[in-house]
């Protein structure tokens, strides 16, 4: 089992990257939330596996935290939110999916070349995944830029957090426990606040389209 661990972790890493691409091209909000939950699941699997391979109990705790927060609670909350906001079956018109994909591939190549000299130095058995983690962060970043609706923007934000936690897990076998808990708390509170905001934005602008939020501009 331990012999296969690095390969398995690489498999999960690839899965996480693949799901990031799936998010970029997904137009249905419901499916987007499901993909996000799946990405969280892959992250949890990678944490548990790495915890098993390196005998670090911290990684189990970190994995459990991700499981509760990113796989169970936040997707559930987002589902509830889109039902209440009545945007459950919304389909977003995305321009130029092929172009976005190509830019995404360029970002992945960029991340790998940036991470290569650093990941060579990693002690961890999965240190090579740093490039994938960075690619996930940048892809989520791109998703936040290209999406015009509020919910996909928030999912992009959360997916970016997934990429960061994945970087912490694979490169350094997890951050100190107190920091992990702090980050989880911030994410949780942040999502709750954004959820409340969505209702208020909806109330004020009659839509969740962020393009409405463009009155504060320089002349």
């Amino acid at each position: 089992m331990i012999a296969f661990a690095p390969q398995l972790i690489n498999l999960f890493a690839t899965l996480i990257l693949l799901l990031s691409f799936a998010m970029i091209s997904q137009r249905r909000i419901v499916s987007l939330i499901n993909i996000f939950a799946m990405q969280g699941m892959a992250l949890v699997a990678a944490s548990f596996l790495l915890g098993y391979a390196t005998h670090q109990t911290d990684l189990y705790v970190s994995g459990a935290l991700t499981l509760v927060l990113k796989v169970i609670f936040i997707p559930w909350m987002l589902h509830r939110l889109i039902r209440k906001l009545n945007v459950r079956w919304d389909v977003e018109t995305l321009l130029n999916i092929p172009t976005t994909m190509l830019v995404g591939i360029a970002l992945v190549i960029f991340s790998f070349s940036l991470a290569l000299p650093v990941s060579r130095l990693s002690h961890s058995i999965a240190g090579g995944s740093l490039g994938i983690a960075l690619a996930c962060v940048l892809l989520s970043f791109m998703m936040m830029i290209t999406r015009s609706k509020a919910v996909p923007q928030v999912i992009g934000f959360l997916s970016m957090e997934n990429g960061l936690i994945f970087a912490a897990t694979t490169v350094t076998n997890g951050m100190p426990m107190i920091v992990e808990f702090g980050i989880a708390l911030d994410v949780l509170v942040g999502v709750l606040i954004l959820g409340v905001f969505m209702f208020q934005i909806r109330e004020k602008f009659d839509s969740l389209d962020i393009h409405n939020l463009e009155t504060l501009k320089e002349d």
Binding site: E161, V171, I178, I201
Partner: protein, 484 residues
């Protein structure tokens, strides 16, 4: 019992208490009392640290040295004066119907929690917790900015959250890389994010990893400092929230982010032994000063104009720390202090002026000096101070920064002079008619609390004329810690 316990305990307790009682009429006073408690505790801590040197508290989780204790005191002080200013200001806002009881509860509770997150960010020894505190500070201020629930404030808060969330995520990536570098030196068993431990081994940290880490950290925390081109959230957030919030955002929050950058710079300089970190900071700083000065000249909203002025000054501070060396670091710290004092004083007077005029558009605010001479003079003196007129403290720090720049980085000096000149001309041209023009405005129902304005300005004046040896020694110690 350590004073730090009270420094962090008062605002945290205040946040909890005011979450339930923040709508009471007396809550405005309770807010002041909690801030006063924090300030007194901070003073005790400062005296202790200056007499006994740096100390670590609670199993090294907290670290107090002259650098952060000075920022802690400044933060506690400005939080206190802003709480005093906020008493009559929020009362008027309530009378105008902009604030309802639940909003007052949110406002007071978040005000205290915001102080808590800033003080936590300054005092913690753990680079990961600095990140957590910065993100928490974003969350509390997002709620403060959006407290009026107008379309504009919601828009500003949403942009603030998303942009700062993205920016600060880069800082977390940088922190992870730093942890990886520590892991290589200290081994997986003893790996740590404690700044003191990292500082002890900074010479052995791997340069490749640290270089990449610093780039991410600078971009991440630089977003919160408001460095161009990552600044676009700042004018919106500062202009749309209640004025006390603009004052603490501009005067204090930017300092926390700056402090995080400085701590990382010390590690990076130690690991690399080159000027890479300083050069990056000089580049970003110079760009911010120049771009902000030109944007500043095009503003119509008074709070937006002064938030661009904050970007300009933070750029100048970043540039000063980028140059490094005892004089520039000293000037940077002094500039941080006087900018906090003067900018919050300006926002106090601007707050009263906009409340009186019912608008933030500068062309509609006129003749403050006839309506209320104290507000008028407060604004005029504040503006003179922020523009770097002698004898205020900003003059002293800007003079030091500019002379050091001419000596050590002569290529940058023309840009700095040009930017400061443009800022000078455009702010003065806008503010003079606001203060001296003809007006038909009436006085306010509740007398404004202008004591904080003059206390801040007098302090800035004193710092410009004469820095007491005690305080001077403190600045010199803090500056030497930054090395360069």
């Amino acid at each position: 019992m350590n004073a730090l316990f009270f420094v962090l305990g008062f605002p945290l307790l205040g946040g909890l208490v005011l979450a339930f009682t923040g709508h009471w009429p007396r809550a405005r006073d309770v807010n002041v009392v909690f801030s006063l408690g924090t300030f007194v505790a901070a003073c005790f801590m400062t005296v202790h640290v200056i007499d006994n040197g740096p100390q670590t508290v609670w199993d090294q989780q907290f670290f107090i040295d002259p650098l952060n204790v000075f920022l802690v005191t400044l933060t506690a002080f400005v939080s206190l004066t802003t709480a005093i200013f906020s008493r009559p200001y929020m009362r008027v806002e309530q009378d105008h119907g902009k604030m309802t009881p639940p909003r007052m509860r949110l406002y007071h509770s978040m005000y205290q929690l915001f102080s808590f997150t800033m003080l936590l960010g300054f005092t913690t020894n753990n680079l990961g917790i600095i990140w957590v505190a910065m993100e928490a500070a974003t969350l509390t201020t997002v709620l403060l900015v959006s407290v009026y629930r107008t379309s504009a404030s919601l828009e500003a808060a949403w942009k603030y959250f998303i942009l700062c969330g993205v920016g600060i995520a880069q800082a977390l990536f940088g922190t992870i890389l730093l942890y990886m570098a520590a892991d290589k030196v200290l081994g997986a068993e003893h790996a740590t994010l404690l700044w003191t431990s990292l500082n002890d081994v900074k010479g052995q940290l791997d340069p490749t990893i640290v270089t990449l880490a610093f780039v991410f950290l600078l971009i991440g925390y630089g977003t919160k400092v408001g460095l161009v081109p990552l600044h676009s959230w700042l004018p919106d957030a500062h202009a749309e929230g209640p004025t006390p919030v603009s004052a603490v955002l501009s005067g204090l929050l930017l300092n926390v982010a700056m402090y995080a950058v400085l701590r990382c710079k010390v590690l990076t300089d130690g690991a690399l032994g080159t000027q890479m970190a300083g050069q990056l900071m000089m580049g970003f700083g110079l760009l911010s000063v120049t771009v902000a000065a030109f944007f500043l000249s095009r503003q119509k909203d008074v709070k937006r104009m002064f938030s661009y002025s904050s970007i300009e000054h933070m750029g100048l501070i970043t540039f000063a720390f980028g140059m490094g060396g005892p004089v520039a670091n000293f000037a940077g710290l002094l500039h941080m202090t006087v900018h906090s004092l003067v900018k919050s004083a300006i926002f106090f007077t601007v707050g009263h002026a906009t409340q009186k005029a019912g608008t933030q558009v500068m062309s509609e605010i006129r003749g403050l000096i006839t309506v209320n001479p104290t507000v008028g003079w407060g604004l005029m003196l504040g503006v003179m101070a922020i523009l770097g007129m002698p004898p205020f403290g900003v003059f002293a720090s800007e003079f030091l920064i500019l002379t050091t720049a001419m000596r050590e980085q002569p290529w940058a000096a023309p840009f700095l002079f040009l930017a400061l000149g443009v800022a000078f001309a455009s702010i003065l041209a806008r503010v003079l008619p606001m203060v001296f023009g003809d007006t038909t405005l009436k006085a306010l129902a509740h007398p404004p609390a202008l004591l904080p304005v003059f206390v801040h300005l007098v302090l800035a004046l004193v710092l410009g004329l004469y820095i007491p040896p005690y305080l001077n020694g403190w600045y010199v110690q803090a500056a030497s810690m930054l090395g360069g």
